[in-house]
């Protein structure tokens, strides 16, 4: 029989039961209130968080803008990049899949190792690039064997290609993968840079005009799960491709200039004097930018970096050299502007210039005798310029140099542009805490000492002398088909007589039988060239050396030989082109630099095969023989709707 609880105990149970129920109701009320708080009051916040959780933006890389030359020829283009990716979860045994793949295409053990490592690090559903830059044949083999290779997918992307190879490497530059330092440079990095395998400009126009070339990212809104796997695409917006840039360069002239300098460490810059357009800016030796895009090997990189001719340096704009005798026009113009020099005035050159107990030598030991302005340029008399420089002073010389574009940093979209150097009294005091000496002025008078100029600046100086206008250099001709405004440069502000006299002297340099550049003249009676040679020392000749007479260039090690320079413009009476050539440690300007500059000038004037009559009679036979041996390649097919090239226009 069951024991029944006493009445009082039963009452207690009821009382306590009610208390319990009350407690439970309170607790349930609390839970309900919390539900209301989360699901009604704060619902909007949490809904947003849930959306953020599941949505993901995947960026679509835009096609990089093309870089074209002035005739529409591609300097940098986008090529299809065939690559093979592998998806672990579809591939089954990854090692077996890679072995099968290696039978179809060349897969180095290092590449295989690297791919395996990455495959194992990433999630199973993430495609990992095994190998890229395959040929069409290779990718076709992979595609044809697709049924036997589950999870191994042939893919196509875009990669940069430079069809002109070495020729435009320095100016156009190259692209490469985004590095950590690229990201650090920007305060708010473009999200595009996070895309794997994205290419970004590293040097040249590619880096300086990155913002034009890159374009804007497209976006694909995708739904992802907690592991990041893409479930579906919700929305897609295509990106904006980068802008196409037409440069002022003429790929043909540029290629020719580089080829003409083969074997030298040299640079040639050619300008259109009417607009300031840079038609060629070549630095020799060069390198193949495509090697950098594909990923340059350690050995190749070391070779380029350590080569004494500095192939990676863009000497045309970054190289700063003592301008030597090519600077003499500046000194003469400075003196004439200051009213300290007239055309007929002569200086006696005994072969040296005495300053106190120090003797400044003329390049010609016997001297030039009585020398006027025209002869001083024609013969490149040093003593004349010692004298003139001393009269006018370094500050006026540097001011004139600045006016002509030396010592000024020109605004071009390539990195590492040197301003050169035009010293002044104040500058020396500031920099070296030493007083300016008269000897410094004498050295400056012949473009030596502190004075430094780049090939671009020398070409620009020549163009400004030729036109009398303050030409500004241009490298970009059009952006996305819209022409960049240029030309209409102001007058230089130099008295016409000074310009005329200097031009006359430059004419004599090339066309006078005794001129230093006579051997490199253009013999066409209708087209005359004016120029100036230069030979700049890179060392100081000690009196002992001079006494021993051992300062013949060929007896010196390469890197202590003189730099050879030549500046010129043509045609003399209606200037079109200005060219400056520097051959590092090339010896005499008339021997090493002038022929190169002349040939580039001829190429610009006449196209790839100048008429024989334009060459001096002594050279014609040799040229004819060369042409028979190796006829120059025909001009490449004209591209659709080409802007007339400089050469084409000139022949018309």
């Amino acid at each position: 029989m069951m024991r029944k609880a006493p009445k009082s105990a039963q009452a207690l149970v009821t009382r306590r039961g009610m208390l319990l129920m009350g407690g439970a109701v309170l607790a349930v009320g609390g839970l309900g209130a919390r539900m209301r708080q989360l699901q009604v009051k704060e619902a909007a916040t949490y809904r947003l968080l849930a959306e953020e959780n599941r949505m993901n933006l995947r960026l679509i890389a835009p096609a990089r803008g093309l870089v074209l030359d002035r005739n529409g020829r591609a300097l940098a283009e986008n090529r299809q990049n065939y690559r093979v990716v592998i998806v672990r979860e579809q591939a089954g045994d990854v090692e077996v899949a890679l072995d099968k793949l290696a039978r179809l295409i060349r897969l180095t053990p290092e590449r295989r190792e690297k791919a395996l490592k990455e495959i194992n690090q990433r999630s199973a559903f993430v495609p990992v690039t095994v190998i890229e830059h395959l040929t069409w044949e290779e990718i076709a083999r992979v595609a044809a064997n697709a049924p036997a290779l589950p999870g191994v997918l042939p893919e196509v992307g875009l990669t940069r290609h430079y069809p002109q190879m070495e020729a435009t490497a320095h100016m156009v530059g190259y692209v490469g993968p985004v590095s950590d330092s690229d990201l650090e440079k920007q305060e708010t990095p473009d999200p595009l840079l996070q895309i794997p395998d994205f290419q970004i400009g590293k040097t040249g126009v590619e880096v300086r005009l990155e913002s034009d070339l890159r374009g804007a990212a497209g976006a694909s809104q995708i739904e992802v799960n907690a592991l990041g796997r893409v479930m579906r695409e919700l929305n897609r917006r295509e990106g904006t491709p980068g802008r196409d840039l037409a440069l002022t360069l003429d790929a043909d002239l540029q290629t020719y200039a580089l080829k003409r300098m083969e074997g030298e460490s040299a640079s040639t810059v050619a300008l259109d004097v009417r607009t300031g357009e840079i038609l060629a800016a070549a630095s020799a030796p060069s390198f193949d930018p495509n090697a950098f895009v594909l990923g340059i090997g350690f050995d190749d990189w070391n070779y380029l970096r350590d080569h004494p001719y500095r192939p990676l340096s863009n000497k045309a704009v970054s190289g700063a050299y003592p301008p030597g005798s090519t600077f003499k026009m500046v000194v003469a113009m400075a003196a004439m502007e200051a009213g300290m020099l007239s055309a007929d005035e002569t200086v006696w050159c005994p072969g040296h210039y005495q300053l106190g107990n120090r003797r400044f030598h003329c390049w010609r030991r016997g001297g030039h005798g009585h020398t006027n302005l025209r002869d001083s340029l024609k013969n490149s008399c040093d003593v004349y310029y010692y004298d003139v420089a001393r009269r006018v002073g370094v500050d006026a010389i540097s001011a004139m140099a600045n006016k002509l574009g030396i010592g000024v940093k020109h605004d071009l979209p390539v990195p590492a542009i040197t301003p050169g150097l035009t010293p002044t009294r104040a500058w020396k005091q500031r920099t070296y805490d030493e007083a300016w000496l008269v000897g410094d002025t004498l050295n400056s008078g012949i473009g030596q000492g502190f004075m430094l100029a780049s090939p671009l600046q020398l070409a620009l100086m020549t163009a400004r002398i030729a036109t009398g206008r303050a030409i500004t250099p241009h490298l970009v001709r059009a952006v996305d088909g819209r022409p960049v405004e240029m030309g209409d440069d102001p007058e230089l502000g130099v008295r016409p007589v000074a310009l005329r006299l200097v031009r006359d002297g430059m004419y004599a340099v090339v066309n006078d039988r005794r001129g230093t550049g006579y051997r490199s003249r253009i013999a066409d009676p209708d087209v005359k060239m004016a120029g100036k040679t230069g030979t700049s020392q890179v060392r100081i000749i000690t009196p002992e050396e001079r006494a021993r007479g051992v300062f013949k260039n060929k007896d010196l090690p390469w890197n202590r030989r003189d730099h050879a320079l030549f500046v010129c413009y043509a045609p003399y009476d209606a200037p079109r082109y200005a060219i400056a050539t520097i051959v590092e440690h090339g010896g005499g300007g008339s021997v090493a630099a002038a022929p190169i500059a002349r040939d580039v000038m001829m190429h610009a004037l006449y196209g790839p095969t100048p008429p024989l009559q334009a060459y001096p009679p002594g050279e014609r036979e040799e040229i004819e023989r060369q042409r028979k041996e190796a006829p120059p390649p025909p001009r490449p097919e004209p591209v659709a709707d080409p802007a007339p090239g400089p050469a084409a226009r000139d022949r018309a």
């Binding site: 069951m2 024991r3 029944k4 609880a5 006493p6 009082s8 105990a9 039963q10 207690l12 149970v13 009821t14 306590r16 039961g17 009610m18 208390l19 319990l20 129920m21 439970a24 109701v25 607790a27 349930v28 609390g30 839970l31 309900g32 919390r34 539900m35 209301r36 989360l38 699901q39 009604v40 704060e42 619902a43 909007a44 916040t45 949490y46 809904r47 968080l49 849930a50 959306e51 959780n53 599941r54 739904e223 992802v224 799960n225 907690a226 592991l227 479930m231």
Partner: protein
Amino acid sequence: MTFLDPSHRQLPTGAAKLLHMNWALIVLLTAIAATGFMMLYSVADGSWDPWASRQMTRYGVGLAIMMIVGFIHIRFWRSVAPLAYIGGIVLLLFVEFFGSVGMGAQRWINLGFIQLQPSELMKVALVMALALYYDWLDPEKVSRPQWLILPIVLTLVPMALVLKQPDLGTAILLAAGAGVVMFMAGVSLWYFGTAIAAGVGLVTLVMKSRGTTWQILEGYQYKRIETFLDPSTDPLGSGYHITQSKIALGSGGLTGRGFMEGTQTRLNFLPEKHTDFIFTTLAEEFGFIGSISLLALYALVVVFALASAMRNRDRFGALLTTGIAATFFFFFAVNMAMVMGLIPVVGVPLPLVSYGGSAMLVLMAAFGLVQSAHIHRPR
């Protein structure tokens, strides 16, 4: 006086017992379990496999067990109470030495057809033992200290074993269930006040012990408490569960995102979505209306069970029913509070809804005891 005729108060026998069962409870439990089937179907991306179909089978088995247990006279269950308690302790000791390790805790005995969790059994066995003790004890004596020693020991022994596994959640549920039985039995409120004060002191001590040589809890437990207090400190680590769970709940809004439409569930942002965190899926897909309805179902189960206990003049049956109702209450309340970020994540499933075999069967058997007490209550 015909209404005093004992024949009116006769206990039902045989099939008549079926009529005298607490049908309200059965309907409520079935409704809750059905909600569970639906959610398991949803979290499996619209598939009866692998969870929903098995859960339904188990519920069927559980219902049968409930009937059988309910039909057996409460007298029998009182007589086996000590045995159940001793059996529970033995099984706990057994898992201590031979149990399988799952989720970092020794909890299961693998019986081949089912993963038995002795701690589940223990919750019921402890309530049975305490109900028996207070049924035997003269109600006058319940508040005397010497008569408190045995129930406290009876509670502490399984608690210690469960904590050793380590399973903080179950240990708390054991203590709470035992506490409610003692409360219902009439133990003076002063003791409960003291116990609560002592509990607060213990918590302080536990927190203070962190990093000292006498550290009381495991490192991961401190970590959980810490991230509970501020989930944002570790959004991708331990705090991830709480944060994602709250996002799922909140994004459900008033009416929910629709059945099978919850993105948090679909895209696997929710942890353990078919077990401890299944409530979040319900809340995400059916919103505030869905979650408050489930809460109401649970609350009604407790109300009906407590009402049955209060009407029951059999002290054992009343105390047993109260204890089971309390255990059930703490079960769902702790789980819901946990997923809503009110208390730390302690690993308590949502009764009848979370996927899990032994928990479901033990719970149905326990409600069988409630039915037995209800059917066989003195008339």
